[in-house]
């Protein structure tokens, strides 16, 4: 009976379609390398001395990029290897196989534009067009075949699995067979016929996501080339990892990453416990009227718009503003402009952040506190626990899940300090502590129109962010059995 516990029995090593997918992936990979080699051989005759063995394989040399590997070739290799691995080791994860096949196709497709453009741009000549076209078409056919094989395998496999499942059910109920099993294609067609109205409702939003979320993702390509608006995204000259190197060699990399981490860290250190403490204190208040008034008033700053908040801050921080007056009252001889001195920027930023969000962020804890079983308090009282002990042993454990989830989310967003508030508050004098990665991206990209460089820095930041979120979510899943997906 233990066999019944496994509803999806593996098909075993005899699954020859799996082998086919692997072979096709390898073939695509090889054909791409052939393609690149054709291109490189062509060039070698022109600029023999410029090529090293490494470049020969990866087919990418421009003076600028210092022989960095061609990003698209790397992409092809990565996706092919990914496809091979999923087919070999995770045969049931069809989504991964399908995605790897799609990405593989996309990378091969882009390779054509890239290499031909590059050859033209760099050496003023066409690549060996016949061989090149042959190689590219071969690679394209192979990658499409990979995709088709994955879909085919899915179709067949779902039928086989369903048959096994039905066999088991029929056998256990002692009913003789005689059923029909749909193929994947039939399932999809029937589903579309039945649900097309529902899909029609989703389509407008889907178009939005494709155009405005995935469209810009396609634009990330410019992080790897020297984008010139006139030549377009694919037509601009490829420089590989040049911009990333430029960024990490500049002093800005250290400064912006450090500032991002510091601002996040201070915000976490002071901004995270504050609403918890407020919620605990509000929870201890007996007068409901007073409690509600305090809540209403502390939520209020949240509704002041960012621009107005920063306007108020700038005014208060100036040498003739409220904070300067307060400083004078406290005996400071010559008050400083708090926003004009790098020393104070983080304090002003974090302080105003707390001021604005304190009450608002406490809502979620208050609702968690309201969910604690009152009987636990009664039991604790009977056991002789005082108020303080009740807080420690009943209240805090009660809201611990909420705290841990929010904490993990905050940690996941460590590198994601937004630019909006900082752009409004900082100035040349405070760049030293205020300039975070996102504001640097903004300045380089929007103000200096350094599109490619800015995109590269942003991409670096996004990737780190993404990894942090995934990591935080994994942690959350392990520690609290609560995860975002």
């Amino acid at each position: 009976m233990t066999a019944a516990a496994k509803p999806t029995p593996g098909l075993g090593m005899s699954d020859w379609k799996r082998v086919l997918i692997i072979v096709l992936c390898i073939a695509t990979l090889l054909s791409c390398l052939f393609l690149v080699q054709v291109n490189a051989v062509q060039r070698k005759t022109e600029e023999a001395q410029a090529l090293t063995g490494f470049d020969f394989l990866l087919g990418h040399t421009t003076g600028k990029s210092e022989g960095s590997p061609h990003p698209l070739v790397i992409a092809v290799i990565l996706f092919a290897v990914w496809g091979i691995c999923t087919a070999a080791f995770m045969p049931d994860k069809f989504l991964y196989s399908i995605l790897s096949a799609i990405f593989l196709m996309a990378a091969v497709f882009l390779l054509r534009f890239d290499i031909t453009y590059q050859a033209k741009g760099e050496f003023g000549l066409e690549a060996d067009s016949v061989k090149f076209a042959f190689g590219w078409i071969l690679a394209m056919i192979l990658s499409v075949a990979t995709f088709a094989a994955v879909i085919w395998r899915k179709t067949e496999r779902s039928v086989v699995l369903k048959k096994k499942e039905l066999d088991r059910i029929y056998a256990s109920a002692n009913i003789p067979g005689g059923y029909k099993v749909e193929t994947w294609g039939q399932i999809v067609r029937r589903d579309f016929k039945k649900h097309w109205r529902i899909y029609a409702l989703i389509v407008p939003a889907l178009i939005f996501y494709i155009v405005w979320c995935y469209g810009p993702m396609y634009g990330i390509i410019i992080a790897f080339n020297d984008f010139k608006p006139k030549r377009g995204i694919l037509g601009s000259e490829w420089v590989g990892l040049q911009w990333f190197r430029d960024f990490f060699r500049s002093a800005y990399a250290y400064r912006t990453i450090r500032n991002t981490l510091f601002i996040s860290f201070y915000n976490l250190l002071f901004g995270f416990p504050a609403p918890i403490i407020l919620a605990l204190m509000l929870n201890e208040m007996r007068s409901m009227k007073y409690k509600r008034t305090v809540q209403t008033i502390t939520y209020m700053p949240y509704f002041i718009s960012l621009v107005v908040l920063c306007g108020i801050l700038k005014d208060f921080c100036s040498t003739s503003g409220l904070f300067a007056d307060v400083q004078k009252l406290l005996g400071v001889e010559s008050p400083v402009n708090l926003l004009g001195d790098a020393k104070y920027f983080r304090s002003v930023y974090v302080g105003s952040e707390i001021w604005q969000r304190l009450g608002w962020d406490s809502i979620i804890y208050l609702s968690a506190l309201a969910g604690i079983d009152q009987e636990q308090y009664e039991a604790a009282t009977i056991d002789g626990a005082g108020k303080f002990k009740q807080v420690i042993h009943v209240t805090l454990p009660g809201i611990l899940p909420t705290i841990s989830i929010l904490l993990i989310l905050r940690i996941g967003a460590m590198m994601g300090v937004g630019y909006e508030k900082i752009i409004l508050l900082y100035n040349g004098l405070t760049y030293e502590t205020a300039d975070v990665v996102s504001t640097y991206v903004y300045r380089k990209g929007i103000e200096d129109a350094n599109f490619s460089f800015s995109t590269a820095v942003n991409l670096f930041n996004s990737v780190i962010n993404f990894l942090l979120v995934v990591f935080a979510n994994k942690m959350s899943a392990v520690l609290t059995e609560n995860s975002l997906w």
């Binding site: 407008p204 810009p216 396609y218 208040m285 509704f303 718009s305 001021w355 809502i363 991206v441 993404f466």
Partner: protein
């Protein structure tokens, strides 16, 4: 009952708690109060004033407000914000409810995949420049559409709405289907009214987004006639763009600095009061929104 059980330490804490809360309220309110009393003060006295302010200086005067009203950018800003807010919120709500309804239906083969496709955008985005180039390439720079279209759906709101639609019993949908209603009718006649509270909360969140929106307009718009209110405020409050606010002939050069301060405070009040007036009435919806959002999507 509880009072009898209070120990001395607990009493002390209760007193401390109440005093602390009162202090907190003062801290939350005082900046706004300061701005308000400054805005009705006498500009000359205000300029010379040092120290903490509790009451307006000199005679109450509405001079600053008159100057603000005479600044043509502010009514235009209000109008533009209303346009962005109206059209934007309607578009957001349309896209979000339709997609949320569709995605909450069970038994649709692709819904799981589409959900993953959408959720991925919460964790990874193209970034500022590719986004900017996208708007630019579509020829939407400096247009109303360029501000509204790129923020069609907020994924978080979509997930919240989908969760609330999924909580509506299937039997309602089935009986409606039997009565011959199609999905469109079911959405507008049954689901929309039933999920009213969530719909209101989400609409509110979108409206607040449009009210606060200044960044996208600041990079996409070049003509001031299309500026939303927040961007006008930024010019006045943060960029010290006084050219537009002291056009009044009666104000001499020497008084400019004094009036500049006054006008700043008045502008803040004019731009904040609408929100703070409606806020207490909408508070419970906002709070509900936070709660709804905290449920795992």
């Amino acid at each position: 009952m509880a009072n009898k059980l209070m120990t001395r330490g607990e009493k002390a804490f209760a007193v401390f708690n109440y005093v602390f809360m009162a202090l907190l309220c003062v801290i939350c309110l005082y900046p706004l109060w300061y701005v308000f009393v400054s805005s009705v003060s006498d500009p000359v006295l205000l300029y010379a004033q040092r120290g903490i302010l509790f009451w307006p200086l000199g005679q109450w005067s509405g001079r600053g407000y008159r100057l603000v009203m005479e600044n043509p950018n502010i009514p235009t800003g209000f109008l533009n914000t209303l346009i962005y807010m109206g059209v934007g919120t309607v578009l957001n709500m349309g896209l979000t409810t339709m997609a949320a309804y569709g995605l909450s239906r069970k038994g649709c083969y692709w819904n799981g995949f589409i959900m993953k496709f959408i959720a991925f955008t919460m964790y990874f985005a193209g970034g500022l420049i590719p986004f900017y180039l996208m708007v630019k390439n579509m020829g939407l720079l400096d247009t109303y559409a360029g501000i509204i279209l790129p923020v069609g759906v907020n994924t978080w709101n979509l997930i919240v709405m989908r969760t609330s639609f999924a909580g509506i019993p299937d039997s309602l949908e089935e009986s409606a289907h039997l009565d011959g209603a199609n999905d469109w009718t079911i959405l507008w006649r049954i689901f929309f009214p039933l999920a009213q509270a969530t719909v209101a909360v989400i609409a509110l969140f979108y409206a607040v987004y449009w009210w606060n929106n200044w960044f996208n307009p600041s990079i996409f718009l070049s003509s001031k006639s299309k500026y939303p209110l927040q961007l006008v405020l930024r010019e006045i409050l943060l960029k010290n763009d006084t050219s537009s606010m002291t056009q009044v002939g009666s104000v001499g050069q020497s008084q400019q600095e004094q009036y500049r301060m006054l006008v700043k405070y008045c502008t803040i009040i004019v731009a904040t009061v609408p929100i703070l007036v409606v806020y207490p009435f909408l508070q419970k919806y906002f709070v509900k929104g936070v709660m709804v959002g905290s449920i795992k999507g």
